[in-house]
């Protein structure tokens, strides 16, 4: 091993490229969706259950915190789908290059943000 290797531990000068950010967010949103599967199943159970079950669900939605959680879960879903579609396009050879990859990442991020904001407007 060489003695004098270039070392950069100054975190303020290390920046993730946009492609890495889009990629790690895809993974994080996937984990979030996995963790919230039981809550979504519970929601389905309540909405398909008796009138009392539905009333419980409605009371939950009345609170700002639970509405925020719902927005968060759906945002993760939106992001995961958008970034996933980018992945599928890349499987077909679209947006794989250095420049086109960055462009694709920007487009995916932009589309996801717009959809998430629109969802927020619809929810509130």
């Amino acid at each position: 091993m060489k003695e004098q290797r270039p070392v950069n531990l100054d975190l303020t000068t290390i920046k993730f490229p946009i492609t890495a950010i889009v990629s790690i967010l895809h993974r994080i949103s996937g984990v979030i969706l996995f963790l919230f599967i039981p809550l979504m199943l519970w929601g389905l159970q309540q909405v398909l259950g008796s009138g009392d079950d539905f009333a419980v669900l409605q009371r939950c939605f009345a609170g700002p915190v639970s509405r925020f959680i719902l927005w968060g879960i759906l945002s993760a879903l939106i992001y995961h789908i958008v970034a996933g579609i980018r992945h599928l396009l890349m499987d077909f050879g679209l947006g794989e290059g250095k420049v086109s990859g960055r462009l694709g990442a920007r487009i995916a991020l932009g589309v996801a943000i717009v959809l998430i904001v629109l969802l927020g407007i619809a929810l509130w």
Binding site: R27, G30, V31, L33, F34, I37, P38, L41, L44, Q45, V47, L48, G49, G51, F54, Q58, L77, I81, G84, I85, H87, L88, D91
Partner: protein
């Protein structure tokens, strides 16, 4: 070819394909739901009960749940393989996730058939 005993199919290419096919199936389901709730009020219980009262919707939803289990397993397996290095810990966590996912599937079927 490297085969892996804990991955979904034990074969990277097959996992890769299964991950994508299951993704497409689930996106189609999300679109189906979005179209339905664009035409029916989402905050009304009857909209949901009407939709999930159909046998075809129950069947479709179970198929989607199966796809979800496969998709989640491939994703979680990849993440565990990337980040959790001690073999014993990884296998324990993998086992836990498999049991949990199997439970979700059974729970989902139970929910659907009690409508």
């Amino acid at each position: 070819m490297v085969s892996n005993v804990t991955s979904y199919s034990g074969n990277g290419l097959r996992d890769w394909l299964a991950q994508r096919l299951s993704a497409v199936v689930m996106v189609a389901y999300v679109v189906l739901l979005a179209v339905y709730f664009a035409m029916h009020p989402v905050a009304e219980q009857t909209s949901w009960q009407q939709l999930f009262g159909h046998v075809w919707m129950k069947i479709i939803t179970v198929i989607v749940l199966l796809n979800l289990v496969v998709h989640a397993w491939i994703g979680i397996w990849t993440i565990f393989t990337d980040y959790i290095k001690p073999m014993w810990l990884r296998v324990c966590l993998e086992l836990a996730v498999i049991l949990v996912l199997a439970g979700y599937l059974v729970w989902g079927i139970d929910i659907l058939w009690s409508v």
